[in-house]
């Protein structure tokens, strides 16, 4: 248990790890027939590998890595559209840095920038607003990317632009929501999931009740978790205890940050500016009903799709995955990253082929960075 020494409170970590081992035993889970818990959030995937939680927990417990990394589920067609927007001479294209290296079918945003497109990495959509104020002769497009955690920031930025009548600011909205893909995975006859660890910062915005269907309709436990390693371990223990006791509930391990009903200002801003699209494409998961958001007609002046005629508003387009890339199968938990033929060969964090290798929150990048001897053994 050498990794446990890295915990802020190693004694508390050891105590929780011992209870996890005991409850896994009580459930009767073994390496051959493990209990399968999905951590939905890419931030949790990263933490699991960083702290070696998969090695510290018993063999009868299997972590299945979920679709909660917005960069990783972004289809290539969306990246292509970003590049097209960015290459327009009047456009200053602004984006979170995370999206820069995601491969498109022609090029990534990073390559487009090297080729001369005016692409600027920003920390916040507030930076994009300020760039629009300072460059009235240019069109400033912000790439709205992310789950419910980042959606309020673009909704409030659009409202701010509307309030001050900023005519050269638009958002290219590709926001997505966490609950619909969970439902798709639960409906998948090839998936066997016994419980979930939910993303804490998503529930900070939407509360815990959007997950009620997981417990009520599918009879599976979910525990909304914080991001410290000890939070994660405690949440895993809470899921295991529910399974052992035959309970299926939505529990909140991260109540110090997550209010039961979320953040009312954020929820109101999202509802005012956005509406669900009939369906939206996810990399590896395909089209999912009501899983993406679009800008409401009232705010069309701030919608890059409407202004430039791109994206879901204009046409549907499908770009096939690169040859040999198994991101889809990894994304749905069918295979582990090391089972992808390209892992560590044609696809590395330096030269990513698939999106899961791009972000530090992607399962493949986490395996590559922290998998150590085990991952390399499998590759070789």
């Amino acid at each position: 248990m050498k990794y446990a020494d890295e915990f802020r409170d190693p004694k508390a970590a050891r105590a929780v790890l011992e209870r996890i081992a005991a409850v896994t035993d009580e459930i009767g889970a073994t390496a051959e027939n493990p209990v399968r818990i999905m951590e939905v959030c890419g931030g949790h995937t990263h933490a699991i590998f960083r702290y070696g939680l998969d090695k510290l927990t018993p063999a009868g417990l299997d972590f299945i890595h979920g679709p909660g990394c917005p960069v990783c589920v972004l289809p290539m067609a969306r990246v292509d559209e970003c590049v097209e927007l960015a290459e327009r001479p009047e456009v200053i294209f602004t984006t979170f840095g995370d999206a820069m290296r995601v491969p498109g079918s022609r090029k990534s945003l990073l390559q487009a920038k090297a080729d001369g497109a005016d692409i600027r990495m920003v920390y916040s959509p507030l930076d994009a607003l300020e760039i629009a104020r300072r460059n009235p002769a240019r069109e400033v497009v912000f790439f709205g990317l992310g789950f419910e955690t980042t959606t309020p920031s673009t909704a409030l930025s659009i409202k701010a632009a509307a309030a001050e009548g900023l005519g050269n600011f638009t958002v290219f909205c590709n926001h997505i929501t966490v609950p619909p893909p969970i439902k798709v995975l639960l409906d998948d006859p090839y998936m066997r999931l016994d419980g979930f660890v939910g993303p804490g910062h998503v529930s900070m915005v939407i509360g815990i009740h959007p997950y009620d269907f997981i417990a009520d309709d599918y009879g599976k436990p979910i525990v909304v978790a914080g991001f410290e390693p000890l939070d994660l371990l405690q949440s895993v223990l809470m899921v295991l205890e529910q399974i052992r006791d035959g309970r299926a509930e939505v529990e909140n391990q991260y109540a110090r940050v997550v209010p039961e009903h979320g953040n009312p200002v954020s929820i109101a801003a999202i509802a005012e500016v956005y509406e669900p699209r009939p369906s939206f494409e996810w990399r590896g998961l395909g089209e999912i009903d009501a899983s993406g958001l679009r800008i409401r007609a009232e705010y069309a002046a701030y919608d890059a799709e409407a202004k430039f005629g791109v994206g879901y508003g204009a046409e549907s387009r499908n770009v096939p995955e690169p040859e040999g890339c198994a991101c889809g199968a990894v994304m749905t938990g069918r295979i582990k990253p090391v089972a992808c033929p390209q892992f560590g060969r044609g696809c590395t964090p330096e030269m990513p082929l698939g999106a899961l290798m791009v972000s530090s929150e992607g399962a493949c990048a986490a395996y590559y960075q922290y998998g150590g001897a085990r991952a390399v053994d499998v590759v070789d």
């Binding site: 802020r8 920390y123 930076d127 920031s153 953040n263 954020s266």
Partner: protein, 96 residues
């Protein structure tokens, strides 16, 4: 981009627009506080908040702020957020 970073509200810069100055790990950055304000923004002075992409999203106490910052440092996310803030500042000046 998904994980927030703790910051302390040290000044109100534009109370009508709900903008405040936050100090994040020694770096000052203007943030929007609409999601955490209960009444006038001035009431937030000295408070700690989790800040996501320039928006304060949840009030936390000082101990939680310290614990969260330590966890983010462990994941390399704290440095990433500070670098993103610097990149955002550079983008304003037109530096690409």
């Amino acid at each position: 981009m998904c994980l927030g970073i703790p910051g302390q509200i040290v000044a109100i810069t534009d109370s009508a627009r709900m903008m405040a100055m936050a100090e994040v790990s020694g770096v000052r950055r203007e943030v929007n506080v609409a999601c955490i304000a209960q009444g006038p923004a001035e009431g937030l002075l000295g408070k700690w908040a989790l800040i996501h992409v320039g928006f304060a999203m949840a009030l936390i106490d000082e101990e939680e702020a310290a614990k969260t910052l330590e966890a983010l440092r462990g994941l390399g996310e704290a440095q990433e957020a500070l670098e993103a803030m610097a990149a955002g500042d550079a983008a304003l000046e037109g530096q690409r």
